[in-house]
Symmetry: C2
Subunit: 116 residues, 2 copies
């Protein structure tokens, strides 16, 4: 089989309880410090924020810039390569949006989360 399915590969990069929201904020703000991400995502713990950022960094989606100063300052931003995710994220967002409407039509708007 010369042609294999790599959907899972893409999923692996985006999946993780906090990765979408982290990416959302960094895409939107361009550059964010660790503490700013914490403030934007109140429920995340430092541990999770760190690990999710590290994974995104490993995949060259985000950049980690450390300022050699005290107190420490670290800025996260989307890499040029990472910006290539934009069309895919848009597609996923749009499909997700329309899917919520579809579920509404099928099951009614009960028991569907409106929050976010």
């Amino acid at each position: 089989m010369p042609h294999e399915c790599k959907v899972e590969t893409a999923l692996d990069i985006l999946v993780g309880k906090w990765k979408p929201v982290i990416l959302f904020h960094i895409f939107q703000e361009e550059v964010l410090r660790f503490s700013e991400l914490q403030r934007l995502i109140p429920d995340i713990t430092k541990k999770m924020l760190t690990t999710q950022l590290r994974e995104l960094e490993y995949h060259d989606i985000i950049n980690r810039k450390v300022y050699a100063q005290v107190p420490p300052k670290v800025e996260y931003s989307i890499t040029d390569y990472g910006k290539g995710l934009t069309p895919l994220l848009d597609s996923m967002h749009n499909w997700g949006l329309s899917h919520l409407e579809h579920l509404d039509q099928i099951y009614g708007e009960s028991k569907l989360e409106k929050n976010n």
Copy 2:
């Protein structure tokens, strides 16, 4: 905020240890019986196959057709609505494919899975 990110919504539908491969086979074969899916995905247990199929069915991605006969016969197929996932899955596959190459360039081809 009138415009919220629904990337997670899309992720929720596709995520699950076996969902991508299940969808892959049903998309490819059009119609598959429970036992045929088991054969195509040797490592999956009946329990997981059942639950993942149920979730996809709940989201109206696949159709479950039960033949009232003995021994039982159940066929799974992609719904018309589910076929709307094709562009998204293609995008994810293509991005995943190029991402593997990108990782190769960064880290070399060591420690990257070649199997699948």
